[in-house]
Each structure stands twice: as structure tokens, then as C-alpha cells.
Amino acid sequence: MRNRLRWLANLFQLFIKELRSIKADPIMLVLVLYAFTLAVYSVSTSASTELKNLAVAVVDEDDSQLSRKIISALQPPIFQEAVKISAREADMALNEGRYVFVLDIPPNFERDVLADRPAELQVEIDATAIVFAGNGSVALQNVIANEISEFRYGGGLASTAPVNLVMRSAFNPNLNSVWFGALMQVMNNITMLTLILSGAALIRERERGTVEHLLVMPVGAGQIVLAKILANGLVIVVAAILSLVVVVHLLLSVPIQGSVLLFLLGTTIYTLSIASMGILVATFSTSMAQFGLLAIPVLIVLNLLSGGMTPMESMPVWLRYAMQTLTTTPHFVSFTQAVLFRGGGFSLVWQYLLIFVGFGGVYFALSLMRFRSAVLKG
């Protein structure tokens, strides 16, 4: 009993020491602060997949009232003002990537429309602009079809359809990409910074030789590793929750649908598992530079292949399974989306919490094993 208390007392001392070390590293603190404030703000507001400012060229071979009406309907913010070009220029313009869309309005188009004769508009799309080509072409077609319908029947498309299709978007009615981007950014930062912070904490001690110093004292490897995981995890969890409430909710006015407490619980467990992973990566490197080289690919893989960027179902099956069985991050992304986007409650997400605990345990055990063999022996 006394031994157990002493063990805990030393863990607490080391935990305090870790916190002091973090406090004394201004660069890391600035990085954490930047990542959870400015970066969340700027990345979520600028890098969006929302249709914006698309460049359209029109080859107007009709030059009629209708064709001009269509051209003038292409307006910001989705489109740039359409530019008229000649048929000969079209290929060149697409090759050079000057426009994403080239709309061709054939001669006598207006006349054919008025006479209800079949007529065909052509849209050439630069499909290398993969993000905007698909949704952009749908938007473009909608605008054109609406204009034609109004011109011909005096009303929009809806008035003529046999069925009234009402489409709604749940959880994000206007499909505002900031809502998504901001939360994903917070999640990515949690993963990235926890891994860097905990790994760097171990490397710092290895580089300075203080690990040895600790181990000569009545302190075990388990306490050293655990103290790092807890202290660095705590810092990140606090920063993440502040970022969520202050930057995402108050500043960017993103509504938070679910329970922040539930998110806090899940994030805490997840963060501890990633901190263990950081220690694990750090045991494979002897210097901060090596750690950097190892961590960069790991972080990019975690951030891109976990469903935060691209839905998991769009990835090849083998890759999806590999990610889900080897790393926690895909589960964390699902957990966050369920809780914060869709307002899922404990009954919907409890299994994620178990997964985090499982992964955390495995990473911790592995990092402890590696710590003993790599750090102590060499």
C-alpha cells in the first residue's frame, strides 16, 4: 500500500515536471496556440470545397436573347463572370487550364427552344479540376436549365415538374463548409500536436541524458512514460476544448449539436492513446530531427486516411480495414462526427470509447516495451 502510494506520488511529481517543461518551451506553446486558433480559423474559412469563383468561358454561336440571358446568369460567388471566346480558342484554353468549363451554345439555339425542337448545349469540363468539376457542372446545368425553363415557360423548373422534390440537408442546412472544416481542423490538430508533443518530450530527455538520470532514482519506466502521456495529453485536451468553444463555436459561429462533455470524455481517452503512439514513434529515433522525419509521414497518413478528408467509404476496402485495425484516428473521426455534427448521445457512441481504450492500452504497452529496450539499452 505504501509502495503504491509512493508510486503515485512520484507519478504526480513527474507529471508536474512535464507540465513545467511544456511551459518552458515557448516554441511548442506558440505552435499549440497557433494551431488551435489562427490555423483553425484560416484553414476552415479559406480552404473549402465550396463552389466558388469558378472560371467559365462561353462559345456563343447563337448570340440571341436567350444565350445572353444564360451568360449573364453565371454570377459570383459560384462563378466568375463568363468570358466569351471563339470556338477555335476552346481547346487551347482548356489545355492551359484557364477555365474549368467551356459552354458551347450552338447556332439557332433560341429558335429551336421556342419551336420545341430538340437542341443540345455542350459543356466541356476540365476534369483535372476534380474537386469542382463535378459539383460545378451540376450547378452550371441547374442555372442553364432554370434560365431556359423561365424563358420558355415563364417559370422555373419546379413549376413544371410532376413531383415536388424537397431536398434538405440534415445537421448543416446550408452545407456551410466552415462547419465541417473547423471541426476537422480541431481534430487534426489534436492528433498532430499530441503526437509531436509527447514524442518530443521523450526525445528531449534522451538528447539531454535526463532519462538515465531519472532511472537511477526510485522511478520506473512506466511512471516516466505515463507522466509524459498524461501531461501532454492534458495540455492538448484543454487547448482543444477551448478551441472548440471559443474559436469554433463563438468566433466562427458553428453550432455544436451534441454534448461537449461527451466529446471531452472521448477526446481525453483518444488523446492518451495518441500520446502513447507519439512515445512509440519517438523510441525509434534518437534525435529530434530523426523524429521529425518519422513523424511527418505518420501524421500525414493519420490525417488523410482517417475519413476526415475523404469519407472512409471512398477508400479501397483493404486500406480502410488497415487504417481501422492499426490506428485509432478513423474511429475518432467517426466519434467526433457522430457527437459534434449529428448530436449523437452516449448510447450511440459508447463503443468508440471502448475502442479508444483498447488502442490506448496496446500503444501504451508497446511504447513501454520499446522504451525499455531502445532507450535503456542504447
Binding site: N3, A9, R20, V123, A127, A129, M217, G292, I296
Partner: protein, 913 residues
């Protein structure tokens, strides 16, 4: 007055605010062995670096070999005549290169031909006794051998002025003696050569012809050793040095007296070790070491760097588990009683290993707590330590701001705060000045004699060893003698401990006792090595491809032997390419939908069939209630919920425009947007079909969309070429930046400063290997694109290949540019990654098409190579373009290659600041 080889006048040098050299005037006599003595941090290294021309002169003048070192032209001319060996064991060597490869590199830098190199290297290796190990990596040599190799590297070009900065620190006495004998022999052969040596060992300085003693950037004495001793009226140089220090430094100094030890009989030994052996793989670091140390004894542990001392100490403290053998502390085995025993041990390691981010007091506090000093006593104990170790004034300062001597006191205070009965100290005094060292020893002796603490200490200083009760001598993993200092000297019949140690070492290394340090054969080799026939006239060329090649060759060898860097260079792009290729997909497929069909008529089923038939959607079981609809959307199980009201079929037939509501999960906006597009398209088709069925006129207008370049509209076709763009900037730039900054960190950058290599040769030589490695990874990326992602190259291959080459030259050049203003590898990695990722990801068409960028963003993109390479990669792969379309991009890339090179050339400094 003798003729001077070098003369300093009014030289002052600062590092930031710290004054390192203070208005120094000094003339160093030519053709002799000159010494610069004083402890660490008094400005010795700065003076030598200024003499060698590797540091930029700040104020005053430096004349070397009759010329002004402030002039670049003279420095270029003089650099082949000067040899500089920087401080630190093998610091200018390349640890992964073998002995031969290291020498070969230096020989190439001095423009020697193949046969000349062979001959010289052979001679030098024979002369230094390194000839049995030409293929051993420099990093695996012992300290003494490293220093000999460093010396060989310095001597490879027959310098006229040899500058050695603490060449023997951390080297065992035999190697030290061999080293000096070697220098003597060389000087005998080449009397015109001048040598200046800095050293912290006062005993060594006795053999110099002339010496200058420094303290705090100033001279405190100049002259022959006899003159210096005579002036202070002391018998040894060490005492003389202390006597010559300014008054305030000597205050409180007392010489160290060791009171005799009272031995208590029949006590349990404090430390007992039996047959300790430690192997790392094939290498036996410690071989069958045993000793028995009684309570209160000061036990000295002597041996060279890398002989197994530290490993033995780590085994005693339980840091390393011995491969064989056992240790008992106070009769208790280390195994199983670890925590209890640790409570009784204090440890202080070689380098300063306390937390620099914690204050003095916090460091003491942490240790007091970790050793479970009762909470009520902690404050008093900390106060006691602060007072008795003279740290009260700096209690709240950070350790980094303290002088070395004070930091050592802090380390000792921390090591004894819990009143341990055993202290294990690993070279606690290296680099500390003599006054501080002696006061440190007085504390140690007090602990041993007054408090009965057993002290196990390793040291390089013989005068410290002489103060121990007993010492053990260790070499190459074996302890070959244990006894009191007097006994050991007596046993070998030598006057001093040092001589005895050397004699033991000779025996251990199989050198006959009476043999001179260097054999006749070695002397002969020195003779040939330095004979004029070898000394080919030095060709000084402005740009020498040979020197460039020397650097390129060496960098390649180092890179190929560094597993982590090579892994990053070759596999990094592959892993990331796969990640990006699959990870950034904008293909939206497999959207799950479920219907809440309250109508269940033929008409409603007809509508739902449209969904099931689409390849974008996959059907899930029907929904039974509104609550279920909400829940299943929430859980993410269903992406799209379709609600068909009752009476749908009836209303449809009646032409009453029944309402169908479709709810899309909006949590991922892009997916939702695309899903809505699919639903709209599907609904339009459905509507036309209905209208046709009911005989209504259907608008005859169709909008044909043609997806150019990528008919299947697959993400990979567009993403993969852009990802190649991203990979080939990120990784080559980071690699080449590290390539240079690494040398700054390890110290081998000194070779760039001190040898005749020019900036252009250096930059290009260091760039070539990275271009080569990057070309390999570019080829792998190309193959991945073709075979894994099934892309075909539609455009010109020659365009793609040449464009990629230019791009790689530009991006590696960019890394070099970053390396000119970063100092640590971490900073280089972070800075390069950020500076290259931002324009490559945001402003080069990776996600947002360049045509949608406006003003600043576009301009920012165009200021970096990725925006110019992306059209080449995408053009060649997806768009099928050729030279006619893309020649301006090629020109721009070529421009970047030149621009980055020129900028690096301007920013790179041949001299240190």
C-alpha cells in the same frame, strides 16, 4: 624575440552579449610548439578559429603566415597551408565513413591524384599505427584513435601551420603520449612547421616550447613553461595557473588535502561486483569486471573514452542489466530490490543532465520529492543544500545561465539531496576550471570522510586520481589493475601515476615497455609521408570539379549509410503517394440510403427503384418511423433518407405535384453537395420519364457534359499527377536542407570553413546526391502512378522527364537556401515543410484550380516552383500535352534552379560569425 607565425592585435570577439576574447594582443612564435592553456570557455577556441580563418574577425587584426586573415583573397591562398583540427573527439570526422574514406575525402579536397592519395594515406596510417583498421567506421574508433585520425586528416596536405584545439581531451594517457610523440616526430621532419595547441590539461603544457595562459578572454601569462612557473613561484603549471588568476577568482581557494581514511573492519562492502560483462551484439563493452569497495572509500575509475567506464557505471546503477555477472550494493543484489537500492544511490552523469527548463530550486525540489524526503523536511533540506553548495543566490535561475562549475555543484547537490550512502560520479569535472574542480573535490572528500559516503568516480585528470583511496585502470572493456595510487606507481616502478598508467596500457596493448611511443617503422613512414617528393605543388583553382566530386561522393556514402534518412527519402514519397492517392478522393460513391415509404404504391416503388438502380447509391433496410429516420441519420448508418408521404401515387396520377422529401446527411458538405447533385439528376430523369408516360411534352433541350482529359471522372487521374508535384517538393527540399544543417550540428561544417573548397563547389557537391536520390524516388512515383493507380502517360515523356529533373534541381536548391538560415535540423525540417507545403497545396492547383485563384494567391503560387511544375505533371499525364504547350513552364523551372543557387551562394558564409 622569435619570428612570429601569427600575430593578433586588439582582437575582440563577442557571441551576442558575451565577451569571449577581450582586446587580445598575442604573437605566436614560428617553428615551435606553442600552447594556449586555460579551462573551458576562456576564449581559447575562438582565438584558434580566428587564426584558422574559420571564424569571421569582428575587431582587431589577425596576421597569419605573413598575410592578413581579414582578406578573402589571402585566406583562399593560405588555406592549403593551414590545417585546423576543431575541438571535440573526431568532430571534423564523418562517423559512418571508414578511416580510409575519411582520409580519402580530405585528400581529394586538396586536389591530390589517385596514386598520391593512396601513398599518403598509407604512410599516414602506418605512421599513426592506424594501419590495421582502414575499414573501421570512424564512429566506432576509440577516442585516442579518433584523434589520431583527425590529425592524419589535418596533415594530409603538409600544412605549414597546424592548429589543434584540445586534441587530447578525453583520451587515455597512452594515446595522449603517442599523439604528442607523433607530433614531435613530424616536427622533427618538418622543422618549418609551426604548431599551436589549446589544452585544458596543465600537465601536457609542460612539454610545449612556449605557452600563453588565458582567463576570461584575456592573457594572464606568456612565455616558456619555466618562465611561467618561475613568475608564479610554483612547482607545477596547474598551481602556477591558479596563482596567476586575478585576486577575486582565487579568493577562498585552498589546496585539496585528503585526510587519511579510518577503515572499519568486517563491514559489508558498499559496492561489490563480480564478473560484470556487457555485450552489445558482437561487441563486448565490458569484459568480466569485478571489484569490491568498502564503505566511505573514494574509488577512482580511470580509462579512455569508450573503454567501458560509463557502461560499467550504468550496470552499477541498474541502468543496464549486465549480460553476465552481478552487483551487490550493501550486500543486496540489484535485481529485485531496485527501488530500495536506488533510494540509497546518488548519480551524476558525464554531461549536464538536469532539467534546464526548471530552476535550481525546482530541480532540487523535484529530486527531493522523487526520493520521498518527508514533506515537512523538504524545504529545510533544499535550503541546506542551497547554502552548503553555495547556490542560494542563483536559486531561482535556470541552470543554463550558470557557469559550468556552478552547474556541477548543482548536479552534486541534486545527487546527494536524499543523503545517499553511495555516490556514482561519471567524469563530473571534465571541462571545469582548476579552482572550481578543487572546490568540488573538497566537497567530495568531506562527504566521504565526514559522512561516510562511498564514492565511485571516473576521471581523466591524474591529479584527481591521485586523491582517491584506490583506483582501477580500465582499457578496452577490461580492468587490468586496482590499488592505491602509490601502490600502482610502485608496482610499475614509475615516479608518477600517469607513467604507471601508460606502462599498464602498453602492457595491455602489447607494446614493449621500453619501446618508444612510435616505432622505427612508423618514424620511417612519417619521413616518407612528409618527404618533399610527395608535396606536389598546390594547384589553386577557382572552381575545381574534383573538390565538388569529393563532397558529392562523401555525401552519397553518408546518405546511403543513414537508415532513417534513406528510408525517408525513398519510402516517404511512396507511402505519402499512396496515402494521398487514396486519401484525397473526391469520388463520392456507395452513398447509403433508406426509404420511409408511407405510400407503398406502385408509383412510390417506381421512384425508389431509381435509387436502387443507381451505381452511386446502396440501399439499406426501410425506415419505419420519423424517429427512426432521425436516429439512423444521426448514427451515420444512412447518408440519405427518402420520405414518401401517403397518397403519393394518388396525387401523382391526379397531377397534384406530390411532395417527396429527401434528407441528406450534411455533416460532410462536399459529400452532401455531390449527393444532392446525384439526387437532382436522378429526379430530373424520373420526371421526364413520368411526363413521357403521361404523354406531356418534354423539354427537348439536353445539356451534354463532356469530362475532358478524365472521362471516367476519377479522382486519382487528377490527384496523382498533382501529388507527384507535392512529393517532389516536400521531400527533396527537406532532405537537402538537412544535408547542410546536419553538418552545422555535428561540427563537420568546420571542414567547409577550413579547407579550400569554394561555396559553389560545396553547394553543388552537396546537392548532387539529393538530386540523384530524388530522381530514384521520382521514378518510383512514376511507376506507382502507372501500375498502382493505372494512369497512362498521355503526353510527352521527354517533357515529363526533363521537367521533373529541372523541378528536382529547383526544389533541392530551395532546401539548400532554407539551410543557409536555419541552424538546427528540427528548424530546417519544420521551415522547409511549411514553406514548401503552403504554396504547393494551396496555390498550385492541387485542390483549388489555378483559374479560380485571384491576385495575391496566384502571385504567391507563381513565386515557387510547384505552380510551374503542376501543369507539366498534369499536362503530361492527364491532358496529353507536349513541348509546344509547356515550354514556358520549363523555362521558369530552369530560372528557379539558377535563382535558388545564386541566392544560396550569396547567403552562405564561408566563415562562422
Amino acid at each position: 624575440m622569435m619570428e612570429a607565425v601569427a600575430r593578433l592585435e586588439g582582437v575582440t570577439h563577442r557571441y551576442g552579449k558575451r565577451l569571449a576574447v577581450d582586446a587580445l594582443n598575442l604573437a605566436i612564435p614560428a617553428g615551435c610548439m606553442a600552447g594556449l592553456i586555460g579551462p573551458d570557455g576562456v576564449g581559447k577556441s575562438t582565438v584558434l578559429a580566428l587564426l584558422a580563418g574559420v571564424r569571421k574577425l569582428q575587431a582587431g587584426s589577425v596576421q597569419v603566415l605573413g598575410g592578413n586573415m581579414a582578406e578573402k583573397r589571402f585566406r583562399d591562398e593560405a588555406s592549403p597551408r593551414i590545417a585546423y583540427m576543431p575541438q571535440g573527439l573526431g568532430r571534423n570526422l564523418y562517423p559512418t565513413l571508414t578511416v580510409f574514406e575519411n582520409l580519402d575525402f580530405f585528400a581529394r579536397l586538396f586536389g591530390q591524384g589517385a596514386s598520391e592519395r593512396q601513398a599518403r594515406i598509407h604512410d599516414l596510417l602506418t605512421a599513426t599505427g592506424l594501419d590495421p583498421f582502414p575499414d573501421r567506421p570512424a564512429g566506432k574508433l576509440s577516442g585516442g584513435m579518433k584523434q589520431k585520425l583527425s590529425l592524419c586528416c589535418a596533415l594530409i596536405h603538409d600544412p605549414d601551420f597546424l592548429i589543434l584545439d584540445e586534441p587530447t581531451t578525453g583520451v587515455d594517457p597512452l594515446s595522449r603520449q603517442q599523439f604528442w610523440d607523433l607530433i614531435d616526430t613530424i616536427r622533427g621532419r618538418r622543422p618549418q612547421m609551426s604548431v599551436i595547441v589549446a589544452t585544458a590539461y596543465m600537465e601536457e603544457a609542460e612539454r610545449f616550447d612556449w605557452l600563453a595562459a588565458m582567463d576570461d578572454g584575456k592573457l594572464i601569462a606568456v612565455g616558456s613553461p619555466d618562465e611561467v612557473r618561475g613568475r608564479a613561484g610554483k612547482a607545477s603549471l596547474e598551481e602556477a595557473f591558479i596563482a596567476l588568476l586575478p585576486e577575486e577568482k582565487r579568493r577562498g581557494y585552498q589546496s585539496v588535502v585528503v585526510p587519511p581514511r579510518v577503515v572499519a573492519p568486517d563491514e559489508i562492502p558498499a559496492i561489490e561486483a563480480e564478473g560484470l560483462t556487457c555485450r552489445f551484439g558482437n561487441f563486448t563493452a565490458v569484459d568480466n569486471v569485478s571489484f569490491c569497495i568498502s564503505k566511505g572509500e573514494i574509488f577512482g575509475f580511470l580509462g579512455s573514452n569508450g573503454c567501458g567506464k560509463s557502461t560499467t557505471m550504468k550496470m552499477l546503477t541498474g541502468l543496464i542489466t549486465p549480460t553476465e555477472g552481478w552487483t551487490k550494493l550493501f550486500g543486496q543484489s540489484l535485481v529485485g530490490n531496485e527501488m530500495e537500492i536506488k533510494q540509497n544511490v546518488g548519480y551524476m552523469s558525464q554531461s549536464f543532465s538536469l532539467y534546464t527548463e526548471l530552476t535550481v530550486r525546482q530541480n532540487l525540489d523535484l529530486h527531493a520529492h522523487l526520493f520521498h524526503i518527508p514533506a515537512g523536511e523538504i524545504d529545510a533540506r533544499i535550503q541546506e543544500m542551497l547554502t552548503s553548495y553555495d547556490l542560494t543566490e542563483v536559486a531561482d535561475a535556470l541552470p543554463d545561465s550558470l557557469p559550468l562549475g556552478m552547474r556541477q555543484r548543482l548536479q552534486l547537490a541534486v545527487a546527494v539531496i536524499h543523503r545517499p550512502s553511495i555516490l556514482i560520479l561519471d567524469e563530473p569535472t571534465s571541462g571545469v576550471d582548476p579552482v572550481a574542480r578543487d572546490s568540488f573535490w573538497r566537497t567530495l572528500i568531506g562527504l566521504a570522510r565526514d559522512d561516510g559516503v562511498t564514492i565511485f568516480i571516473s576521471t581523466h585528470f591524474m591529479n584527481e586520481a591521485a586523491r582517491c583511496d584506490r583506483i582501477s585502470l580500465m582499457h578496452a572493456g577490461k580492468v587490468f589493475a586496482v590499488g592505491t595510487p602509490e601502490e600502482l606507481a610502485e608496482r610499475r616502478g614509475k615516479p608518477t601515476l600517469e607513467d604507471a598508467f601508460v606502462s599498464y596500457l602498453k602492457e595491455a596493448s602489447g607494446i614493449p615497455e621500453d619501446a618508444p611511443a612510435s616505432t622505427a617503422a612508423e618514424k620511417a613512414a612519417v619521413e616518407t609521408a612528409l618527404s618533399p617528393a610527395h608535396a606536389a605543388p598546390m594547384r589553386q583553382r577557382h572552381f575545381d570539379p574534383g573538390r565538388l566530386w569529393a563532397y558529392a561522393r562523401r555525401e552519397t556514402m553518408e546518405l546511403l549509410r543513414d537508415r532513417i534518412r534513406l528510408w525517408f527519402a525513398l519510402f516517404g514519397p511512396v507511402i505519402l503517394m499512396i496515402t494521398f492517392g487514396y486519401g484525397i478522393s473526391f469520388d463520392v460513391e456507395n452513398l447509403t440510403f433508406a426509404a420511409f415509404d408511407q405510400d407503398k404504391t406502385q408509383q412510390s416503388r417506381q421512384l425508389l427503384e431509381k435509387f436502387s438502380a443507381s451505381r452511386y447509391f446502396s440501399e439499406r433496410p426501410d425506415i419505419g418511423s420519423s424517429a427512426e429516420l432521425q436516429n439512423r441519420l444521426k448514427s451515420g448508418e444512412v447518408n440519405i433518407a427518402i420520405e414518401i408521404p401517403s397518397g403519393y401515387g394518388r396525387d401523382l396520377k391526379a397531377g397534384r405535384q406530390p411532395e417527396v422529401s429527401v434528407t441528406v446527411d450534411g455533416s460532410m458538405p462536399f459529400r452532401a453537395e455531390t449527393a444532392k447533385g446525384y439526387v437532382t439528376g436522378l429526379a430530373t430523369g424520373y420526371a421526364s420519364e413520368l411526363m413521357r408516360q403521361s404523354g406531356q411534352s418534354v423539354p427537348a433541350i439536353s445539356i451534354e457534359t463532356r469530362f475532358r482529359y478524365n472521362q471516367a471522372f476519377k479522382s486519382v487521374n487528377a490527384m496523382v499527377p498533382s501529388v507527384i508535384m507535392l512529393m517532389l517538393v516536400l521531400i527533396p527540399a527537406i532532405m537537402s536542407a538537412i544535408g547542410i544543417v546536419r553538418e552545422k550540428e555535428t561540427g563537420s561544417i568546420a571542414n567547409f570553413h577550413s579547407t579550400p573548397i569554394s561555396k559553389a563547389e560545396f553547394l553543388l557537391g552537396k546537392q548532387l546526391p539529393y538530386i540523384g536520390v530524388s530522381l530514384v524516388s521520382a521514378a518510383v512515383l512514376f511507376l506507382l502512378a502507372v501500375f498502382l493507380f493505372q494512369l497512362s502517360l498521355k503526353g510527352s515523356f521527354s517533357l515529363f522527364a526533363l521537367g521533373t529533373l529541372l523541378y528536382l534541381i529547383a526544389t533541392t536548391g530551395f532546401g539548400q537556401l532554407v539551410s543557409t538560415f536555419t541552424r538546427s535540423q528540427v528548424a530546417a525540417v519544420v521551415a522547409t515543410a511549411i514553406i514548401s507545403i503552403v504554396p504547393a497545396v494551396n496555390f498550385s492547383g492541387l485542390i483549388i484550380p489555378v483559374s479560380s485563384l485571384t491576385g495575391m494567391g496566384r502571385a504567391f503560387g507563381l513565386a515557387f516552383p510547384p505552380a510551374w511544375y503542376q501543369p507539366i505533371s498534369v499536362g503530361a499525364f492527364t491532358k496529353g500535352l507536349g513541348w509546344g504547350d509547356l515550354w514556358p513552364n520549363m523555362l521558369a523551372l530552369g530560372g528557379f534552379c539558377i535563382l535558388f543557387f545564386v541566392l544560396s551562394l550569396l547567403l552562405l558564409r564561408k566563415q562562422d560569425a
